[in-house]
């Protein structure tokens, strides 16, 4: 019965994707990508991936639309050239052939939802069985993310950090760019209703972000989602009051500090466990028992993840906003 909704949503997803690629106006593409993200989040929830759906919600609803609009404010929104005819025809042929090959290949895939599919037999049962034993936390996803696959997450955090540095080095320091601009931007300060309501909601968004951060062991959530939510709150403030005020509230040096200290905290936990006699990121040595050590470790590295993600996302926003006038 539930599959019917999923089929509906997936058909809508395909239509949205087609419209996104075929539309000539980039603003329309960005708006449709908002719909795309909403549909993907609902589908993830139907497929039992609550944590992933929350991440998609936090990133897709606020931040990615704002980023794309910030970039579009610097360019022409109309797509002028369509490209030569042979390019379009030949790429259509390539795409059609590959689609047929991929669809043919799906018949070798295990059936949808098969509990005996190879993917579900190898390590997953061990994880599901051992997360409560080793860590004593109910959310298996957080357990795997923080502990069993801690190296993986460490790498991802450094990728996010590097992307933030890359954006900064490409677009320049937001504060300097802002000073060179002819017109200072005051945001939506003259729009009373959005301003009042938006300001009222910002504390709630931050509060919810902190809840997601620290309750992530018990319900869907964790550092990545919380970072995106808190960054969305700050970005909302910057949209409402202008970036200058947002930069007064959280200056760039604090953001740099957040970016770096989050990644450092994560790495530092690993080094600390080395010095305390364990392996890199072996949290067991942090506490008196295995469970308490693991819980301390997960709490610390989730805090690191949250700090880095918040810092990077707000920095990226400021970097774009200082270039454009958004």
């Amino acid at each position: 019965m539930i599959e019917i909704f999923n089929i509906f949503l997936m058909a809508m997803l395909v239509i949205t994707a087609l419209a996104m690629v075929s539309s000539r106006h980039l603003f329309i593409t960005v708006m449709l990508s908002g719909i795309f993200s909403l549909l993907v989040a609902a589908i993830f929830l139907f497929l039992d991936a609550a944590d992933v759906a929350l991440t998609e919600a936090a990133v897709g609803a606020g931040i990615s639309t704002v980023l794309f609009l910030g970039a579009l404010a610097l360019m022409d929104v109309e797509e002028t050239a369509r490209g030569e005819r042979w390019v379009r025809v030949s790429s259509l042929v390539v795409v059609a052939v590959t689609t047929i090959a991929l669809v043919y290949a799906t018949f070798d895939q295990p059936l949808f939802g098969d509990p005996n599919a190879p993917i579900n037999l190898h390590v997953a049962p061990w994880y599901i069985e051992n997360v409560p034993v080793h860590m004593g936390i109910p959310n298996i996803v957080t357990g795997i993310l923080g502990s069993y696959r801690g190296y993986d997450t460490l790498g991802e955090v450094f990728v996010v950090y590097t992307a933030g540095i890359g954006v900064l080095s490409l677009l320049g320091d937001p504060v300097k760019n802002r000073m060179n601009r002819p017109v200072q931007n005051h945001g939506l300060r003259h729009y009373l209703i959005p301003r009042v309501v938006g300001r009222m909601l910002i504390p709630f968004i931050i509060l919810f972000g902190l809840y997601v951060q620290f309750h992530g062991e018990y319900s869907p959530g964790g550092g990545f989602q919380a970072g995106a939510l808190i960054a969305a709150a700050i970005i909302l403030f910057a949209i409402l009051e202008g970036e200058n005020r947002a930069l007064n509230v959280i200056p760039m040096r604090v953001l740099y500090l957040m970016m770096a200290s989050g990644a450092l905290l994560y790495g530092g936990v690993g080094v600390a466990t080395l010095f305390m006699g364990g392996n890199f990121l072996e949290y067991t040595v942090l506490g008196s028992t295995m469970v308490s050590g693991q819980q301390w470790g997960i709490l610390l590295i989730e805090a690191g993840v949250g700090l880095t993600v918040t810092g990077v996302l707000i920095t990226i926003f400021h970097a774009f906003a200082a270039r454009s006038n958004l």
């Binding site: 949205t16 719909i35 989040a41 909601l201 319900s219 949209i239």
Partner: protein, 108 residues
């Protein structure tokens, strides 16, 4: 059963909003459709939580309800700055870059 009916109504309405988003003559119709989709998704997530018997899914609905409207504000800001930029550029002469673009558009 009533949950399935409500969820079905929500999905159908999402389809209608999608039609509006894909077809919608103006830019604003698309923003409107996105906004509608947002509210429908919040409700759909809440109803899914009941259908699946998972009360923790309501956190997701809460997250969407809180941050969904940021996109609309960004759109408002986008058009506001674009208006002021257009006013700035149209009052002076056409910039060199735009001229070069026009010439190349004419050639090709």
């Amino acid at each position: 059963m009533i949950f399935y009916i409500v969820a079905f109504a929500l999905v159908i309405t999402m389809c209608l909003a999608l039609v509006r988003a894909v077809r919608g003559p103006g830019l604003y119709d698309r923003v409107l459709a996105v906004n509608m989709m947002g509210t429908k998704t919040v409700l759909l997530l809440a109803v899914i939580a009941y259908i699946m018997g998972r009360p923790d899914y309501i956190d997701l609905a809460l997250a969407y309800a809180l941050i969904n409207f940021i996109g609309v504000f960004a759109v408002l800001e986008f058009f506001r700055t674009r208006e002021s930029q257009l006013a700035l550029t149209s009052s002076t002469t056409q910039s060199g870059q735009e001229k070069a673009l026009d010439e190349q558009g004419g050639q090709s």
